[in-house]
């Protein structure tokens, strides 16, 4: 009998098994539940139901609208911030960047509580501006996730390209539009993908700001509360499909650890 020999490859076995059990298997189970009914028979009713029910379609459109506006607002606020931070010649730049990241270590539910109190003070009645509150809340929650990847990309740009453009007679605006902006697109993409998807699903932000309109995440939440695993699984599949399309469109760099990179 051959004696067991330690090999470095075998180190990966526990994690590979873990991934199969808890990443692949849940996806398969979601798929199974989405296409079966309570009696365990195959059905496409959940699928057709989703696309023919005006309520669920309305929810889909509303989440896309919230996510789109939030992403745009975050981008418009974050880009100048990241640009100014990355191009400044401050010695304490690192500390200043930390100041922008710090809020992310405070629990998001506590941060939204704080925001809610301020909005309450400004608006009087939160229920009056549901869409605005949703966008403000999501922006408040996700802004650092947009600032960081853009900051990192601009910081890494080769400064000599900008100098060359300037030497060849471009003014500051031209240099920005033709050199810095195009080269910072990867950072923008990674920021957009970190804001858009959470903005479609993080329904707690809406709940806490008294916006009772559903977004995609709220649908899963409500099916979960009603123990309707089949309906919930179908919503999860629709979300997965959107995530896949989005990742493909954005050409997601699979090794880019944007969410983690932003946190550390």
């Amino acid at each position: 009998m051959q004696k067991f020999r330690f090999s470095r490859k075998s180190l990966g076995i526990p994690y590979a098994l873990y991934l199969i059990l808890f990443v692949v298997a849940p996806l398969l189970v979601l798929f199974y539940y989405a296409f079966t009914n309570g009696e365990g028979r195959f059905t496409v009713a959940n699928l057709t139901g989703f696309f023919t029910d005006p309520n669920t379609m309305g929810t889909l459109l509303y989440s896309l609208a919230v996510a789109f506006v939030t992403t745009m607002v975050c981008l418009l606020l974050a880009y100048p911030t990241a640009y100014i931070l990355a191009t400044s010649k401050l010695r304490m730049k690192g500390v200043l960047v930390m100041v922008f990241v710090m809020p992310m270590w405070i629990n998001f539910s506590l941060r939204i509580t704080a925001l809610k109190e301020v909005l309450n003070l400004l608006e009087g009645n939160l229920a009056m501006y549901p869409f605005l509150n949703a966008v403000v809340g999501m922006t408040y929650d996700f802004l650092p996730f947009m600032i960081l990847p853009i900051y990192t990309t601009i910081s890494k740009l080769d400064g000599s390209l900008r100098e060359a453009a300037m030497d060849l007679g471009a003014n500051e605006a031209q240099t920005f539009l033709k050199i810095t902006l195009p080269l910072s697109v990867p950072g923008i993409i990674s920021g957009v993908s970190m804001v858009f998807l959470p903005a479609m699903t993080n329904y707690v932000v809406l709940d806490m700001l008294y916006n009772s309109t559903y977004i995609m995440g709220s649908l899963i939440g409500s099916y979960f509360s009603a123990y309707d695993w089949h309906g919930g699984s179908m919503i999860a599949l629709v979300l997965l499909a959107i995530i896949c399309i989005f990742t493909l469109l954005m050409g997601g760099d699979s090794e880019e650890n944007a969410r983690g990179g932003a946190l550390l």
Binding site: F6, S7, R8, S10, L11, G12, P14, Y15, Y18, L19, I20, F22, P26, V29, L30, L77, I84, L85, M98, V99, F100, M102, W105, I106, N107, F108, S109, L110, R111, T113, A114, L115, K116, E117, L121, L143, L197, M200, T201, Y203, V204, D207, M208, G217, I220, G221, F224, W229, G232, S233, A236, L239, L240, I243, S254, E255, N257, G260, L263, L264
Partner: protein
């Protein structure tokens, strides 16, 4: 752009980020429950926070959970990264694709999927904490993997071979040569796992025992309720966490400043 415009812009964004937290911090030291109202200085929120059994249990539970999850995720993610790095191309790219799923997936979907698999299909009771631990570990381990992998790539592989040539067993060489070189990646992965677990709401809601609350799930439920003393005690909690974060950042910046000097 003019320098004053730049500074003004940065200041505005910082105000947007910090004003809510700071207002809450100020009001946590008063006896009023309404932001904007006049109140008197009081530390009763802090007394409530540190003497209410329910709040203390929730805070301790959240921290213990985060460390438990981080230990599991760090072991799994580190082993996974090492294994994937030394495996054949096909296996290693399969692992890295699957690793990416929880990273890009919405947490709602990850949590709901784990809940259906373990609770509905396999009938595991949520009271065992197994679904919760597995759920959060599934979220965190991929981030450990991603922060360890670059360190393994940067490693000088000839040192490992030298250790083998000098008579070390593969296991000893791994433990005494490879692991020490990737410690920074393991540590930052661990810190990342702790942060993700502390901030998680969705996976916890779908997988936690009914009687157990993390800070996130507790706060979300508390804002729906009308118990004023608990509501304002959470302002105190927010302020305590804010101060801890500031202290942590200060210590880290002082350390890195010292490193640059020396």
């Amino acid at each position: 752009m003019k320098k004053t415009v730049k500074i003004g812009y940065i200041a505005l964004i910082l105000l947007f980020i910090y004003i809510p937290i700071l207002i809450l911090a100020v009001y946590s030291f008063t006896d009023t429950a309404n932001i904007g109202a006049k109140g008197h200085f009081s530390v009763k929120n802090y007394i409530t926070l540190f003497t209410t059994e329910e709040l203390l249990q929730m805070i301790i539970g959240t921290v213990l959970l985060a460390f438990g999850v981080a230990v599991l995720a760090t072991i799994l993610g580190t082993l996974g990264a090492l294994g994937a790095f030394y495996s054949k191309k096909r296996i290693s790219s399969a692992i890295s694709v699957l690793n990416q799923v929880p990273v890009v997936n919405a947490d709602v979907v990850t949590g709901f999927g784990i809940c259906i698999l373990l609770v509905v299909v396999f009938g595991v009771s949520k009271d065992t904490y197994i679904p919760l631990l597995v759920g959060q570990t599934t979220l965190c381990a991929p981030f450990v993997y991603l922060s360890v992998m670059p360190k393994i790539r940067q490693m000088d592989s000839s040192i490992y071979e030298a250790a083998l040539d000098l008579g070390a067993t593969p296991f000893t060489a791994l433990w005494r040569v490879v692991i020490p070189q990737i410690v920074p990646g393991i540590l930052s992965g661990f810190a990342l796992a702790v942060t993700l677990s502390l901030d998680d709401y969705f996976i916890a809601t779908y997988t936690k025992p009914a009687t157990f609350d993390t800070i996130s799930t507790y706060v979300v439920n508390a804002t729906k309720g009308s118990q004023t003393s608990i509501k304002t005690a959470l302002w105190a909690l927010s302020t305590v966490i804010f101060v801890l974060v500031i202290l942590f950042v200060l210590v880290m910046s002082l350390r890195s400043a010292k490193k640059e000097e020396g």
